[in-house]
Symmetry: D2
Subunit: 340 residues, 4 copies
Amino acid sequence: MKQTKLAIIGAGGLTGKELTSLLAHHPHFKLVHITSNQVNGKRIREVFPDLNHLPDLVFQKHEVTVPDDTHIVLATPNEVSLEKAPEFLKQGRKVIDLSGTFRLQNQTKFEAAYQFKHTQWEWMEKVVFGIPELFREKIKHAQFVSNPGCYATSAILPIAILGNLRNQIQGPVIVDAKSGVSGAGGRTEEIKFAYTHVYENFRAYKVLSHQHEPEMEEYAFVGAEPKEILFTPHLLPVYRGILSTIYIPFSKPVDSKEIEEKLLSVAEKEPFIRLYKTPEEIELKKVQNTNFLDIGFKVKGNTLVIVSALDNLQKGAAGQALQNLNLMFGYPETEGLDSV
Amino acid sequence: MKQTKLAIIGAGGLTGKELTSLLAHHPHFKLVHITSNQVNGKRIREVFPDLNHLPDLVFQKHEVTVPDDTHIVLATPNEVSLEKAPEFLKQGRKVIDLSGTFRLQNQTKFEAAYQFKHTQWEWMEKVVFGIPELFREKIKHAQFVSNPGCYATSAILPIAILGNLRNQIQGPVIVDAKSGVSGAGGRTEEIKFAYTHVYENFRAYKVLSHQHEPEMEEYAFVGAEPKEILFTPHLLPVYRGILSTIYIPFSKPVDSKEIEEKLLSVAEKEPFIRLYKTPEEIELKKVQNTNFLDIGFKVKGNTLVIVSALDNLQKGAAGQALQNLNLMFGYPETEGLDSV
Amino acid sequence: MKQTKLAIIGAGGLTGKELTSLLAHHPHFKLVHITSNQVNGKRIREVFPDLNHLPDLVFQKHEVTVPDDTHIVLATPNEVSLEKAPEFLKQGRKVIDLSGTFRLQNQTKFEAAYQFKHTQWEWMEKVVFGIPELFREKIKHAQFVSNPGCYATSAILPIAILGNLRNQIQGPVIVDAKSGVSGAGGRTEEIKFAYTHVYENFRAYKVLSHQHEPEMEEYAFVGAEPKEILFTPHLLPVYRGILSTIYIPFSKPVDSKEIEEKLLSVAEKEPFIRLYKTPEEIELKKVQNTNFLDIGFKVKGNTLVIVSALDNLQKGAAGQALQNLNLMFGYPETEGLDSV
Amino acid sequence: MKQTKLAIIGAGGLTGKELTSLLAHHPHFKLVHITSNQVNGKRIREVFPDLNHLPDLVFQKHEVTVPDDTHIVLATPNEVSLEKAPEFLKQGRKVIDLSGTFRLQNQTKFEAAYQFKHTQWEWMEKVVFGIPELFREKIKHAQFVSNPGCYATSAILPIAILGNLRNQIQGPVIVDAKSGVSGAGGRTEEIKFAYTHVYENFRAYKVLSHQHEPEMEEYAFVGAEPKEILFTPHLLPVYRGILSTIYIPFSKPVDSKEIEEKLLSVAEKEPFIRLYKTPEEIELKKVQNTNFLDIGFKVKGNTLVIVSALDNLQKGAAGQALQNLNLMFGYPETEGLDSV
């Protein structure tokens, strides 16, 4: 079978590294070009000594021309994606962007959340939001996919798959999420990510003001009446994984059977969603290094509590990106992602 | 000054150890008797090699007669407290019980939460619930104090000190709490507390069904209209500390200034409550090994979010017990607790 | 290409799990039978929710007959291997044993180290010690391979590849090794592997008395004059990885250039040995989840210090087992092991 | 009793913080002046929210004049101690310096180890090396004490207290030490102390080239024939504590009884040295937050292995400094240090 050539722009970060590792085992994609402005000039095996099967590539600067017939993964900061995505799209390449730049449909909300002016808003007409479970058909035909945020995925999916039951939701949904450092920017040299500040510690950050909050509000209720989401992220002394505890107030007593049937009907047909009998079974250990979203739930009176877990670098970033790439290029959706 | 003699029944556990350590530095209490059915016969310095200033005591069996003129701390399992508390009270001793046995005023709720029959319910008339910030005067004159639960303290205090503002609360309050293993029973040999199950992991447990939920409902709204509380505890890969994120829905837009004034008025006069400017400043590191309850808050629309943190072994157990003991015996409330 | 059928006896432990995961990605081996006396009756995906690509197998009891034409991996305790290995060998199957039962050539030393009577000593004539870098040709033709210990591999290889330079060694070699809990038996429910006993802690164990000490002495000096080895293992608050600091006293000043050339000559031709310029570059992070043995060294006067690191579950157990299986069945040695 | 006034120059670092905390509980010392060029202008309770009993002080710049009748603790970098110590000494104040600046008696070795020119060498005549167990009487009469290094203490003491048995030592002594990040400079913002580089990792650093190696060689053999020491430090994913495994080659078979008697004779009279029956009982947990040095040993043939553990911020730094201060000012040596 003919292989599809890919370039990763910004391959030196955590997400780029994760995708590089996944692609190394993929039968149909061939990584031919990687860039990094931090480690350009170095060989990939030198930068990632803990990875295997790696192609024999050297990191290039972002500016170096990408070979012909090569499609693009942007694992770059927002500002770089803003500039590079349109450039590659105009060259006729397919592009998947892992930054937040092309995720929100409302420019005012975007600029409030991301604190910078969006100068390429016209491309929002072309972009498809990359949650396969919700937008599978659109992704298959997209030239341009925006890959969702890690926290956002952990909340959007459990809510969205409630389907028509979402119309019984009354009042704001609370998403109390807890992430390992790799999902919270933890690779930088900032003192707040020093061992002495993370180990044996725990704290909330960006309370009700994280940029994934509007992303959740935008996609969790697609096809239903929109509701407010109140989102608080927390930093765990853990490397990878996000667990979200989601409190959903209904307008009437929640029927446990009805919820179970709805969630099960989705879990049975989705290769990367697993439903457990109880919320206590959901834990980071079960999803780390996998592309699964695990969910469990409990009801009490009018309240539904869903606990979800995913690996922020896989289903929350590079894994979901590969799931999208498989769809964009006509390969089996689970290829290279080890779903059961 | 004359010293007050104390015995700790069940001094071999984590809470007993913490209180033993605090008392070793206290000028007015003298620990004269310690019991443990696990390590009886051993010397205290042998059992706690990491503690200092310890009195030269040997662990006794629970059955050994406590010396005269000695008051009692019960750091025992529920079943032992149920039997021992009345026995010591009838001998005229003052008793503080750190178990959950005498915390709930409603017997039906108690038996549902604790799953055993309460055969000493008549003593509930005599007992005082030991949160000094709420029941200081009663504690001063009590013969029998029931020390609150660690999770419960982390939620009751932040809500209760809202005072009359609690009457604007509409609908259930959500308490999403995260605890280190020492607050979640983590000393036992169970496989779920093995290193390989806790490290790099995170999970919820007893979702909406923890025995501290009714305790919160009972005391968070004293003097105001009662509200439902929905409580989910989680297990952190951390040894000590509890951080609770509390979502409070109001019937109208919350006035940030009003909340701040109310909380500040309490924090200014309470030696162990610290109010921070933002909820992002609250973290386990600041409260570990202290008797402080730290709080910060944020408002958005009709919702108030309070983040609280405490050390589960101090303000959540042994520290608060010593605060109560100081009150019960007429000593300065902060003695031996190092408040500023 | 025809696939080779394998059974793992004792697949429910950490080593069995690791090998199951590796085999799931291997093109030439097909896992057809797994046993576990702890989780028999359960499906593999239920027991290992964090693994992917798993075959659809159910754990059997050890006693269940292994299908014909199926070769055997023993990931069993010593006592089980002692009984099962001869049984399978007599059936004409190839067997690789991951226990310590068939590693030592001297029965007296064996029984002193392992504290039980070896009743199958005649099989020691047939067994090959499974370090491919030392015994590659023998392994290719072996029916029966004994896979080395994790600590043992981390010390034997760095010493053995010194080749003829070993004849300049004077006096005992000191191996000071530090292992994560998965290499030290850390899955059991023993209190010493509880989170509260491992986290923020560090200790030595079996000082100069670990059963891998005679294993090191036996194989580190093959082809050279034997020397005494003094071995102390320590327990790290880490899940996987072993780092060994090896102090080797020479009879004359060590020539750094000579050491480097010798080690480099080996590293250049061995797919799983990586030589770094300095010992400070060796770290657990670089070898975790890989089959590499990383080494670096420093000399001072008559002393050579080698720092080595490996993943105890891969190069220290299941990875090395697969390396041996590849050799035993004529497949490329690195297949399924992701070497560069 | 009259209190002795103290100033801590450089009180904002980990060691300064530890000493500040210890002094807050000390009946005879009164901390009257603290400096820090990082946090000057801030109140001490704001900088150390997790400490209690703190005096109400504001951090000053280093240049601010220290009040009269106030003695000096230097918890400053080497360059600052080099300048400040002579200045304060000339003012007639007593000075204890926690840096490495005045520890080595040989200027050439000092400048090789510390990589800067020592311009105040004349003060080496006045300084006393502050290990109380070795130099108690000199410390009592000293105006100027140099507090030992943390690694150095963990090796010097176990060797030195062997007394005349040291004359049977043949060849180099190997000190393989493992430290938590607070003993290895782990507060800085360097990427090597980021959570992602320390957690689940382990590595050696400064192999055979750490500046504490000559310090060990200088003081471990006082009163005996000097021997070479080979020292390798390692970084643990732990916050506090050092465990050293010390391999001592004797010229003849070591007599376990003789070692035990010698070590016990010291441990019985020294308040901060504890001898355990086996080296496996030595662990970081037992010494954290204490001023104890714990030791255990094992012999095999001509080799003696001693395992020692201490808290690098207490017996390895601030605790030992307070032990020295008690001696310098005529207070009971264990005052404020909680020895049993």
